[in-house]
Every structure is written in structure tokens, then in C-alpha cells.
């Protein structure tokens, strides 16, 4: 228990939210009961962009509230969806009359609670949704399955939607369509060297032998799709993640690409920089143009050691929105 800086388990998220107000009170405000985070200076006349999901992935989503990105973030308990009541209240608090775009990572609980919140407001608010399902490891042909998980592409989606909303006169449909465009042009794969530790029990969610790596992990401490024994060379690790992404996105030579090299929690900055270096080398070898990068721990899974790579096929419109000004606790 002493291995996590927290007081009683049931206060963890609430106290962390209050801590966010301590560190970033100039940018964000915490609403309590129901809990959600909004901008300290609300937008006056913009489509509201709202996201959220379980906690334990910080800085996602609360760290992305601010000018040029989210208008509100709705945190659930660790790895658990926020309630529909929280989501509904966040929509009500941020809708300026221009409508709301909900960005939802594809997990049953999130989809249920966010959709219910939107549905219950349908007679008074315009609410559109963007479902993020970028995790290639969970692709399956199965009809009616839960579909691919939502992982680090959600950061790109939030950035692009937030930038679009900040453009004068942007409609809720345009913001939604841009979000969906990002999703349709993005894919992610992750791997882990060490599972996260459950803050409640102090136990790891899975164990690996020396030299083993869990390939295709998500962000909730679940096992991936395969346990591998890679060479230990960063070049090989990066290629094993990036190569399926290039194929899945059908990227042709010369295609402009945005890459998110994302630390899953305990991965050091030195490591992520080496991964970024290798990713550029790999993409250049494929004749692809790495136009933009985001390197750091942005979508974490508690203290998991590992990283994910997200590729997004850019075009001029997306590049411009990616470059637009942003001012949030975690991205500026």
C-alpha cells in the first residue's frame, strides 16, 4: 500500500483532482459532485468539446482541458467509466448553445454512460459523438463484438476537435466530422515490459519473465495479444509496432504522418526519445514523411513500463489544426 502516493483508496481520484487545481488552477476548474473539470476561463461562443473516461491515464483527459482543446473532462474512478450523471452535468455546464461534441474511447462502460447522457439531453441540447477505436491489437472480424479499444489516438482527436471548435463559426457537425476523420486515419499499437501495479492491492496485473515483452497491450493492465521475446534492440521494438500501423493505414510513399510516441507510465524520457529516433529512421526507410510528433507520457496506464506508437495520416487540414495554439496543463 505504501507504494502509491495516496490516502484512502476511495479518495484517490477526488484528491488528485483537487491537486490538479493546486498545480493548474490558472487553467482549469474542478466542479464537485458531480465531478468534472472545466476551463478556468470558459469559451463564450464555441462548440463544446467534452471527453472523459476512467482515471489512471493522466494526463488524459483532465490535463487536456484548456484553450484550443477540451472544454470539459469527466473522470471516472481508476479504470472505471464516469457516470452518465457526471457526463450530463459537464455537457450542461459547457454548452454555449452551439452544441457539444463528445469524444468517447471505445469501452462498453464509457460508450454506455456517455451515450445515455447525450440521449437524455436530446430534447434540449445538440450532442454529437466521436468514437475513438484506434487500437490495432483488438481488430477482429467478429460481427457485433465490442470493436477496437480506444487508446492514444484520443489525444490527437481531442487536439484536432478542440482546434476546430476554436475556429470562428465552426459548427458542431464540422467538429464531429473532423474528429471522425482523425479516428479513421489513425491506428495505435502498444507493448509492455512490466504491467501496472494495482493501487489497491499493490499487485501487478500480470507477470513477465526476464526478456519477455507483452505485445499489443491496452491501457487497463490487461494482457496483450502475445507474449514475445524480442531482441531487446529499440529498433526492433519500434518496427514491430510501427510496421503493422503503416500497413493498416495503407500509407503510401511520401504520405505525411503524425506520430505519437506515448509512454505508458514508467517509461523514461530517454527511452521515448530513443523510440522517436528509431521511429523516424523506420518511417524514412518506408519513404514516409514524419511531419509532426508528440513524444511523452500522454495516455498512461498507471505505472506500466512500456510505450505505444500512434500514427495519423495527415492532410493540410489536419496539420493546420494540429499546429493551432493550445494551452492546457499537459499540452501547450
Amino acid at each position: 500500500m505504501g507504494r502509491f502516493v495516496m490516502n484512502a483508496r476511495e479518495n484517490l481520484v477526488q484528491q488528485a483532482l483537487e491537486g490538479l487545481e493546486v498545480s493548474d488552477g490558472d487553467l482549469v476548474r474542478l466542479n464537485r459532485d458531480p465531478d468534472f473539470v472545466t476551463r478556468a476561463e470558459p469559451a463564450r461562443d464555441e462548440v463544446a468539446v467534452v471527453s472523459g473516461g476512467g482515471s489512471g491515464h493522466e494526463p488524459l483527459h483532465t490535463g487536456f482541458v484548456g484553450r484550443g482543446m477540451l472544454h470539459a473532462a469527466v473522470p471516472g474512478d481508476v479504470f472505471a467509466s464516469p457516470t452518465a450523471l457526471q457526463v450530463r452535468a459537464a455537457i450542461e455546464a459547457t454548452d454555449t448553445g452551439r452544441g457539444t461534441v463528445l469524444i468517447i474511447k471505445n469501452y462498453t462502460g464509457d460508450v454506455l454512460n456517455f451515450s445515455i447522457a447525450a440521449d437524455l439531453l436530446s430534447n434540449t441540447h445538440t450532442v454529437e459523438t466521436v468514437l475513438v477505436d484506434d487500437d490495432l491489437a483488438t481488430s477482429s472480424e467478429e460481427e457485433g463484438g465490442p470493436g477496437r479499444r480506444g487508446t492514444a489516438a484520443v489525444v490527437v482527436t481531442e487536439k484536432v476537435c478542440g482546434a476546430a471548435a476554436a475556429e470562428a463559426g465552426a459548427s458542431v457537425d464540422r467538429v464531429r466530422d473532423l474528429g471522425r476523420k482523425v479516428v479513421s486515419r489513425s491506428a495505435t499499437l502498444g507493448m509492455s515490459f512490466r504491467a501496472p501495479t494495482n493501487p489497491l492491492t499493490g499487485l501487478r496485473s500480470f507477470e513477465l519473465e526476464e526478456g519477455e515483452v507483452e505485445f499489443g497491450v491496452g491501457i487497463h493492465g490487461e494482457r496483450g495479444i502475445e507474449t514475445r521475446r524480442p531482441s531487446g534492440e529499440a529498433a526492433d521494438l519500434v518496427e514491430s509496432l510501427a510496421s503493422p500501423l503503416v500497413e493498416a493505414l495503407g500509407l503510401d510513399r511520401g504520405a505525411p504522418v503524425l506520430a505519437v510516441v506515448n509512454g505508458l507510465g514508467a517509461t523514461h524520457g530517454l527511452e521515448l526519445s530513443v523510440a522517436a529516433f528509431e521511429l523516424r529512421r523506420f518511417l524514412e526507410g518506408k519513404g514516409l514523411s514524419l511531419e509532426r510528433t508528440l513524444v511523452g507520457p500522454y495516455v498512461t496506464s498507471l505505472d506500466m513500463k512500456g510505450f505505444s506508437i500512434t500514427l495519423t495520416a495527415l492532410d493540410d487540414e489536419l496539420t493546420e489544426l494540429w499546429d493551432a495554439p493550445v494551452h492546457t496543463p499537459a499540452l501547450r
Binding site: 450530463r88 454506455l112 445515455i116 437524455l120
Partner: protein, 209 residues
């Protein structure tokens, strides 16, 4: 049985009394519901619904309850504030029912409100009749309300309760296609779905007003 006046229209206080009776019914049956969920799910259903209705009970003290919409809205919020699968779905159901008129409700109002609400649950939960969920009790109740010839809300809800109860019973022979029970397949086929059973109890509780 409390006489609350108008027999044709469901008033706010009627609706409140109905929910209080429902909360009592759930309190008595919570362990049984949990047991069903233990056999076909993760064993938290009784606790989930009992907690939400416990919070609803105190929230209902604090409101005027001038019309049913206010009552259903208040109850919806307590369900929406809970996790799990049934909590938000019940919250959606009651919340959609709360879109009914802001005055006492006729049987036609009731029929309309539960119809839209059930449609919303089906749309967002993705469950069809026959997939062993709460929908298996909701859908027959909606049909009963739509088809009833009785002008009094007590009687109409009595018919809905019968239909819902039969619907819940029918889940005792179904293989689940939605929710956690679906992971168990044939192994949980003989278990009645606790969500459906709760809906049957809900309609039956109107008789205690």
C-alpha cells in the same frame, strides 16, 4: 393502500408512493437479485439497485413532487450516478419516462412515456427481446400499456405488471446475448435475469400505492 384522489391520472405524490413501494420491494429482495447475478454475472446487481433506490428514497423526500416527471427525473439521477450496466440503463429508462408532461399523467401519457423510454434502452443497450435482459420485461409492459382498455392508471399498471412478470419468467429459459451473462452461454440458461425481474417488481409495486 393509500387513496390519492384521481383514479384516471397518476399524480406526483402517486408516483412518489409507487417508487417508495418499489424501493421496499427491492430492499426485501436484494439478496435474491444478487444471487441471480452471482449465478449469471458478477454478483453485484442487488447491491447496485438497492443502493441507487436508497439514494432515491432520500432524494424523493427533498422534492415537491408536483408531477410524475419530477419524480421520475429525481429517481433517474440516482441511477445515472451509479456504475455497472444496470444503473445507467435504469437511469436512462426513468430519465426518458421523465420526459412525459409536467402535469398528472393519463394512461395514454404513461403508455407513451414507457414506450419512448424502452425504445431508448433498446437503442443504447442494443438488446432485443429474447436476449435475456431487462428489455424482456420492459417490452411486454409497454405493449400492455399501449393496448389496455382500462382508463385508470392502477388497473393499467396492473396489466403492465402481469405482462412484465411473464416476460421476466421467460428469461428463465433463455441464453443471454447481452451483458455479463452472455459470457456463460448455456451454463446460465435456467437463471432468471435479475434486471428483468426488477422491472416486473417495479410495475407490481404500483398496486401498493
Amino acid at each position: 393502500m393509500t387513496d390519492t384522489g384521481d383514479t384516471a391520472r397518476l399524480s406526483g405524490p402517486d408516483a412518489r408512493a409507487w417508487f417508495l413501494a418499489f424501493a421496499d420491494r427491492i430492499s426485501r429482495g436484494a439478496d435474491d437479485l444478487t444471487d441471480l447475478d452471482r449465478r449469471a454475472g458478477d454478483g453485484d446487481f442487488g447491491w447496485n439497485i438497492d443502493t441507487s433506490l436508497g439514494r432515491a428514497r432520500s432524494a424523493l423526500q427533498d422534492i415537491d413532487a408536483v408531477h410524475p416527471a419530477e419524480v421520475f427525473g429525481t429517481v433517474s439521477d440516482t441511477f445515472l450516478a451509479s456504475g455497472g450496466t444496470s444503473g445507467p440503463l435504469f437511469g436512462l429508462w426513468f430519465g426518458r419516462v421523465a420526459h412525459g408532461p409536467e402535469e398528472p399523467w393519463t394512461v395514454a401519457d404513461l403508455a407513451m412515456a414507457f414506450d419512448t423510454a424502452t425504445a431508448a434502452v433498446q437503442r443504447l443497450g442494443g438488446a432485443q427481446v429474447g436476449q435475456k435482459t431487462m428489455v424482456d420485461a420492459m417490452a411486454p409492459a409497454v405493449q400492455a400499456l399501449a393496448g389496455t382498455a382500462r382508463p385508470g392508471w392502477r388497473e393499467a399498471l396492473g396489466e403492465a405488471a402481469e405482462a412484465a412478470s411473464a416476460g421476466a419468467d421467460s428469461t428463465g429459459g433463455m441464453v443471454a446475448r447481452k451483458g455479463r451473462a452472455s459470457y456463460l452461454g448455456e451454463r446460465a440458461a435456467d437463471v432468471v435475469d435479475p434486471g428483468a425481474l426488477s422491472i416486473a417488481w417495479f410495475f407490481a409495486s404500483a398496486a401498493d400505492v
